[in-house]
């Protein structure tokens, strides 16, 4: 069993990014995995902005990152990049915070013209935290997401299938590497 952490960098509530992560989390639950959740929005703003890592809520969040085997990181795309809110949390992580972990980046945005922001803005940031693997990300259009009420989640069938596929592949990769890490490679 792999423990997943879902991290939302959306400053809004209700939020499409949160709805997307919840949709992904439900899919993880179906596979029998544990998934915890952090919304940067719920963390104390003053402590975040002052990079005060002694605050208990911040310490809990950092511990959750430490404990997770794999992370699903969701961000809205603002000005062709990740949100500043997400980045305030990533700024608090120690240099090798993602060592040995796998990461699946998910982004939401108003236009497909910003699809590459996952690979050109977010991926280098994640990569600098030394993860074992950053999976191919998924970009979901705002119009394909319902942020509240009935039908909350991914409303477009094609987009939903694509995200679920990405999650399944991510789970498969995360668990295989997990077991291959625990087995000595040349024991046989």
């Amino acid at each position: 069993m792999t423990s997943f952490l879902l991290l939302s960098g959306s400053p809004s509530r209700p939020s499409r990014t949160a709805a997307l992560l919840d949709d992904a989390a439900q899919h993880l639950d179906l596979g029998g995995h544990t998934a915890t959740r952090i919304d940067v929005l719920d963390l104390p703003a003053a402590a975040l902005l002052r990079a005060d890592t002694t605050h208990p809520a911040i310490q809990n969040a950092l511990a959750a990152v430490d404990l997770a085997d794999a992370l699903v990181i969701g961000t809205p795309v603002y000005k062709a990049s990740f949100s500043g809110v997400l980045k305030t949390f990533l700024d608090l992580l120690p240099q090798k915070a993602l060592a040995g972990k796998a990461v699946l980046p998910l982004a939401t945005g108003g236009t497909i013209a910003h699809l590459l922001s996952i690979d050109y803005a977010l991926r280098p940031v994640l990569q600098s935290l030394s993860p074992r693997h950053v999976a191919p990300g998924r970009f979901v259009l705002d119009t394909h997401l319902v942020k509240e009420g009935p039908g909350r989640g991914i409303s477009d069938p094609t987009a939903r299938r694509a995200v679920h596929q990405a999650v399944e592949q991510f789970v498969a990769e995360s668990s295989t590497t997990q077991s291959s890490l625990t087995e000595p490679a040349l024991s046989a």
């Binding site: 400053p11 809004s12 929005l41 703003a45 003053a46 975040l48 902005l49 002052r50 990079a51 603002y78 000005k79 062709a80 990049s81 990740f82 949100s83 500043g84 809110v85 997400l86 980045k87 305030t88 949390f89 990533l90 700024d91 992580l93 050109y120 803005a121 280098p124 940031v125 990569q127 600098s128 935290l129």
Partner: protein, 205 residues
């Protein structure tokens, strides 16, 4: 006419090397423009308005204090920015301010980029993170940017930070005034002709 320069600096500590770089870049630009009579500088330290920026990000409304700063940026003739580099990119605090800038407020605005980091290893973050962000915002980004690593400060070696700041300020001032770049000095312009050199050996006049 005075050039109005707005400066955005997003350092977290006090004193902040990010702020210091911003000030030095502003001074170099003002000097290159012809001194204090030619340009005015307004500094926006994001740390001072972090609370208002957060509220704006969450609620969509700017406090009067924040609005005043956003107007300064929008109305400035030129903008100098300076961000610390964390995880190979601009800081979250810096991006939060950029996130609340009204669309088009930087369109066609000349911008000078500066960034600070612990080591020179992240120098490329200026070109790979900051530059694309300002390209999206439609700014006219000066080609000469400055990355200052901790070891650059107070050092006479290490890429000579002072010279790089002067060069960036000079290039930015030329971008603002439309002045042509100074002519490259040709090292072979005043060379002694070969015949003259030979003359010494052969004794011929």
């Amino acid at each position: 006419m005075t050039t109005r320069i707005a400066v955005i600096t997003a350092g977290i500590t006090e004193p902040s090397s990010t702020r210091l770089l911003a000030d030095r870049l502003a001074e170099a630009t003002v000097r290159a423009l012809g001194g204090p009579s030619a340009a005015s500088v307004d500094v926006i330290d994001v740390r001072d308005i972090a609370h208002d920026v957060t509220n704006h990000v969450l609620t969509g409304f700017a406090s009067p204090e924040l609005q005043e700063r956003l107007d300064l940026v929008a109305e400035a003739d030129a903008l100098i920015v300076s961000s610390p580099i964390y995880t190979a990119s601009y800081s979250g605090l810096f991006k939060m301010l950029i996130d609340v800038l009204p669309k088009d407020s930087l369109r066609d605005k000349p911008v000078l980029l500066g960034a600070t980091g612990g080591t020179a290893r992240h120098s490329l973050a200026i070109d790979h993170a900051l530059r694309p962000l300002f390209a999206y915002l439609g700014a006219l980004v000066s080609p000469v940017a400055v990355f200052a690593a901790s070891e650059d400060w107070g050092s006479t070696e290490a890429g000579r930070l002072g010279e790089r700041i002067e060069r960036a300020g000079g290039a930015f001032a030329r971008l603002l005034t439309g002045a042509p770049a100074p002519k490259q000095v040709d090292p072979f312009e005043n060379v002694t002709p070969f015949e003259a050199l030979l003359a010494d050996v052969t004794g011929a006049a």
